[in-house]
């Protein structure tokens, strides 16, 4: 029954979107965190998505989503002169993480909408499957 594959595909997308949501929440939680060492400051992270098919020769056009990794943002850190800060370096500077709150909120909304879309797909397909099973009753 080929409709069952839809559940795999939508499931893989839900998995990917939930990872994205997790990463976003981690970014938001660490927004504004500071450190005296620029190498230790939290940098915004983004998951990388990729579509995949079970076999390369698959011509059916069915492909799920998988995550190939998480990259850290290369955006510049904000340097803040704050000599009274306990973590300030010898010049009196602290480094603030480069998380962009607006970007993360947009990311969160986008991820949750996509997640909901895939839930709807599964619901509709499940409905169709159930109706097919009760054919002729």
């Amino acid at each position: 029954m080929s409709l069952f594959k839809v559940i795999d595909v939508a499931g893989s997308a839900m998995n990917a979107q939930s990872v994205r949501l997790n990463v976003t929440s981690s970014n938001l939680a660490n927004a504004g965190s500071v450190s005296g060492d620029p190498d230790k400051v939290y940098r915004a992270r983004q998951p990388i998505f990729e579509s995949f098919q079970h076999t390369l020769a698959d011509q059916s056009g069915i492909s799920g989503v998988r995550m190939t990794g998480v990259v850290e943002s290369a955006a510049p850190l904000e340097v803040r002169y704050q000599p009274e800060h306990p973590e300030a370096d010898e010049n009196g500077n602290v480094y603030v993480s480069n998380v962009n709150n607006v970007q993360e909120m947009v990311n969160m909304i986008s991820a949750s909408r996509s997640y909901k879309n895939n839930v709807e797909i599964i619901n509709t397909t499940k409905d169709l499957l159930m109706q097919t099973l009760s054919l002729g009753r």
């Binding site: 409709l3 839809v6 979107q17 579509s51 056009g61 879309n117 397909t125 169709l128 054919l135």
Partner: protein
């Protein structure tokens, strides 16, 4: 005896199930960079299912005849996006959702036709309810 009671509805159901998979792949990959949305053409699949309208052109009588099958007739085509995106993704969520809803409805229609066929067959076999 071959029963052709189900006619094209069986083929239509198969096609709708396949299209359902393709459209759900599109929606699943709505956020994947460089993913190109695809879709199936019902008219071409119907022609293919009806017979050898999809054969290769022969320039010599010596060439072998290659008939198209229903499977290859329902071939995948890339969707032309209405708006460009920065990440090379051509999925437009609203277009895909509309197509998915339409396809699900048509799947249900095919199911209803098949259901009627089964009922009338059963009615004929039993000679009444």
């Amino acid at each position: 005896m071959e029963i052709k009671a189900f006619e094209m509805h069986e083929q239509a159901l198969k096609f709708r199930a396949h299209r359902n998979e393709v459209l759900s792949s599109n929606i699943a990959n709505a956020d994947t960079p460089n993913y190109k949305a695809r879709d199936l053409d019902f008219a071409a699949a119907l022609k293919g299912a009806q017979g050898g309208t999809l054969s290769l052109k022969r320039t010599s009588e010596m060439h072998q005849q290659a008939w198209g099958t229903a499977r290859s007739a329902g071939r995948l085509m890339y969707r032309v996006p209405m708006q460009p995106t920065l990440d090379g993704n051509t999925v437009e969520a609203d277009v895909e959702q509309a197509a998915f809803a339409e396809n699900a409805l048509q799947y249900r229609a095919s199911l209803a036709f098949l259901d009627g066929k089964v009922r009338s067959l059963r009615f004929a076999i039993k000679g009444g309810d």
